[in-house]
């Protein structure tokens, strides 16, 4: 891909976003929707800039980020560990497989009331929900990546004198890295979504709570701000993960 094509792609991609903003502005300007229901985009972004300057809104962002990271980290650690174990040990595989088959399609959000009853209304229940939701994509792509590591890579390492128990960390883990990181990317997006939803359902702080408070008082402007914030957070975190990914996978083709 040359530079000219890349520029064209970026410009092309900006069209629908610009179009969306234009339609939004147009609808308001033409009086098709009252500003109380659909505030003009300029107002929303100004309100957002205003809020970002306040300590209290930043507190909400931090609360959300804390739960997001805690849940996501637990999911990464558990997902990679269980996925690798299931890929290398037939016994663990036989146990994990049916359980995952049952738990993966289960709508985790339905467990949320149970988590509330067991863990209380604080951080713990939300973090557990985020972890439970982000776990399966990471686990499954780790399992898939680890069980498709090329046999000859493992043999090459064994012939060079690597003892069997080190093969896991020296060959299988790095060999599965592309797939694992793809799983982490899906898991991260899910974490963003789930933490926000959990905060909307019951919470006293966080971005989801900001949205619910605004909805109760019919403040349309304040309802848009947390939504745009979570979208931006998602983009930024995804960008960071992408950077980590292209560093870790610099040797692999097609990153």
């Amino acid at each position: 891909m040359n530079g000219r094509d890349a520029t064209r792609d970026v410009l092309l991609g900006l069209i629908p976003i610009a179009l969306l903003l234009a339609i939004w502005q147009g609808t308001v300007s033409l009086g098709l929707a009252p500003p109380t229901l659909l505030p003009p985009p300029g107002l929303v972004f100004m309100r957002m800039a205003q809020l970002l300057a306040t300590a209290s809104f930043n507190q909400e962002i931090l609360a959300t980020l804390f739960r997001l990271f805690a849940g996501f980290s637990i999911a990464v650690v558990l997902g990679i560990a269980i996925g690798l174990a299931a890929a290398v040990s037939p016994a663990i595989n036989a146990a994990v497989r049916p359980v995952v088959r049952v738990l993966a399609p289960l709508p985790k959000v339905a467990l949320y009331p149970a988590l509330l009853l067991l863990l209380g209304f604080g951080h713990e229940s939300k973090i557990t929900l985020v972890a439970a939701d982000a776990l399966f994509p990471i686990l499954l792509s780790t399992y898939y990546g680890a069980s498709t590591v090329e046999q000859k890579l493992i043999w090459s390492a064994m012939a060079a004198g690597t003892p069997p128990r080190e093969i896991l960390f020296k060959v299988i883990l790095p060999g599965a890295a592309p797939s694992i990181l793809t799983g982490c990317r899906i898991g991260l997006v899910i974490s963003c979504i789930v933490v926000f939803l959990a905060e909307m359902i019951t919470s006293t702080d966080g971005l989801g709570h900001v949205l619910i408070t605004a909805a109760r008082t019919f403040q349309a402007v304040d309802m848009f701000v947390p939504l745009i914030t979570i979208s931006l957070l998602g983009l930024i975190l995804n960008g960071l993960l992408q950077a980590v990914r292209s560093y870790l996978l610099r040797g692999f083709p097609e990153v």
Binding site: P16, V102, A104, K108, A134, L197, M223, I230
Partner: protein, 260 residues
């Protein structure tokens, strides 16, 4: 060999029983009022499903879910396929989709309710939005991976661009598309439950939280079993259909990928 196949079939069932047993033991040892045992919760299921109003509510939710899922699939597959085969279409839509991706669709519920009211339309629209993205994404990936040579030979046989998309790209991308639909189906259920939890009007999500507010813990856990059962059943049913449709292709994951 026979017994092995039988065991593979029964394994998920055994897993269900095992999980319920773990729950039973945990509840008995914790002996907590707000954590009923698995057996108590199962006993509460008939009374929920016997309640006519609750049943009608749940069925109405499922109808909205089916409509939202159906329309999302009809729109998303062609869009994804086009994106996969045309660089311009892909770079046109990709940034927009990336912006929308991390936004929780069920969180749009309050805003959409503000515009369209609390009726079926809002709820179906949210489900539609929730299902679209994974289906678009998987159709896109599937179409992108179609071998160029297959399309060349199609063109050589005189197929038009549209015919190539329908007769070559669609079947070749079908396994990947169906993976997307499978994710989308579970997602439809999740979006439905979540939006009902947020809107608190009617439906399974609402019954769940009403029971929580009223301290009817048996009902809470019974509802969890019902919703969980719906997810597992829908996924298993879809998987059977998928196996029929794409017998020729190996499934990439034989365990489902689901997320909210």
């Amino acid at each position: 060999m026979r017994s092995r196949v039988l065991f593979a079939r029964l394994a998920p069932l055994l897993a269900c029983v095992g999980l319920l047993a773990v729950w039973q033991v945990a509840a008995l040892t914790l002996n907590n009022d707000s954590f009923p045992t698995a057996l108590d919760s199962i006993r509460a299921i008939p009374s929920i499903l016997g309640d006519k109003e609750a049943l009608i509510n749940i069925l109405a939710s499922l109808r909205r879910m089916a409509i939202g899922f159906g329309t999302a699939v009809l729109v998303s597959i062609p869009l994804g396929l086009l994106m996969g085969r045309s660089r311009s279409v892909a770079s046109f839509f990709n940034p927009l989709l990336m912006v929308i991706y991390p936004v929780p669709k069920a969180a749009l519920m309050p805003i959409i309710m503000l515009w369209l009211g609390v009726g079926d339309l809002s709820k179906t629209l949210v489900i539609f939005l929730g299902v679209s993205l994974p289906v678009i994404y998987h159709s896109f990936e599937g179409a992108k991976a179609v071998e160029e040579k297959m399309l060349w030979s199609g063109a050589a046989m005189g197929l038009s661009a549209v015919e190539r998309l329908v007769r070559i790209v669609l079947p070749a991308a079908l396994p990947e598309i169906l993976t997307g639909c499978r994710t989308g189906l579970v997602l439809a259920l999740i979006t439905m439950i979540t939006s009902e939890m947020i809107a608190r009007q009617s439906g399974a999500g609402n019954i769940l939280f009403n029971a929580l507010d009223m301290g009817q813990y048996d009902t809470v856990f019974a509802m969890i079993i019902i919703i969980g059962g719906m997810g597992i059943f829908l996924d298993a049913a879809f998987e059977r259909m998928r196996e029929r449709l794409v017998r020729w292709s190996e499934p990439q994951f034989d365990i489902p990928l689901s997320f909210s």
